[in-house]
């Protein structure tokens, strides 16, 4: 009964001649999202920054947030910069409560996230 998580991988220009990977999620971010989050992350280049796009995500629970943390752990090990955008004000608050903002900044939209990277 869990809604599938979809993940699309985009490559965008960072505006300074570099490239940025954008992981665009849709559906739910929950315990069923292991492959969509961690599986997808293993396939992306570790040499350029990653943006997580949550703007099409309808539902996030704490098991899903745990998967986001595991992704941040991997990125941390690789010394890779990650930022997120498109979270609703409510989930910005929730992400802040659990401390994720210490390891990934949250931005309103893609433009703001890209500018920060």
């Amino acid at each position: 009964m869990q809604t599938e998580t979809k993940a699309n991988i985009d490559q965008i220009a960072d505006g300074n001649g570099g490239r940025v990977t954008v992981l665009r999620f849709s559906g739910d971010i929950s315990s069923g999202s292991h492959d969509a989050l961690l599986g997808t992350y293993t396939t992306v280049s570790k040499s350029q920054p990653v943006l997580l796009d949550f703007s099409k995500v309808e539902y996030i629970n704490s098991s899903g947030i745990a998967l986001v943390i595991q992704m941040l752990m991997e990125a941390n090990k690789n010394g890779q910069k990650i930022a997120a955008f498109g979270l609703t004000p409510h989930f910005q608050k929730v992400f802040t409560m659990v401390g994720i903002t210490k390891y990934a900044s949250l931005y309103q939209d893609e433009a703001a996230a890209k500018a920060s990277i």
């Binding site: 539902y59 629970n61 947030i65 745990a66 409510h90 929730v94 401390g99």
Partner: protein, 148 residues
């Protein structure tokens, strides 16, 4: 707005992942009827989702012959929620999640549900099974309390 008190709203959902969303939908409708602001309804939805997921997963161990019970009692200035399962319950609330320990693999990445519940509502109390009754968590969210 007319008298809100009276019998509670009662919901039973099968112990299967995803059904926490039905409890979210029911709770959101009751809270909207009571006049809660949207941001506070979001808080309540996440708290109830986490409570139901715990009841489904830990309390009823994903046995979908068992139901998770939710009651929603509208009081004058608050909404009281209980989420009931058939498990033994918990003796104490786990420590606050530590993001640094999680990031360094010293603590499970999971284990944030009860912390979120406590952070998002005005009162949260876990009661262990007893007297032939199941275990439950009781949540209170107050009408005057602004979401911050």
């Amino acid at each position: 707005m007319v008298n809100l008190k009276g019998k509670p709203v009662e919901l039973r959902v099968p112990s299967r992942m995803g059904y926490e969303k039905v409890a979210m939908g029911t709770a959101a409708s009751v809270a909207k009827l009571m006049g809660f602001p949207d941001a506070r309804i979001e808080d309540l939805k996440t708290a109830i989702a986490e409570a139901c997921i715990n009841a489904i997963e830990h309390g009823n161990r994903l046995n979908d012959n068992l139901c998770v019970g939710v009651t929603l009692s509208a009081h004058d200035d608050s909404l009281e929620v209980t989420v009931l399962d058939d498990g033994a319950g918990i003796s104490k609330v786990p420590p606050k999640p530590d993001i640094d320990r999680k990031m360094h693999g010293e603590e499970d990445a999971r284990g944030m549900g009860m912390f979120l519940i406590q952070s998002l509502v005005d009162e949260a109390e876990w009661v262990k099974a007893g007297n032939g009754k199941g275990s439950y968590v009781r949540l209170v969210i107050r009408l005057d309390k602004e979401s911050d």
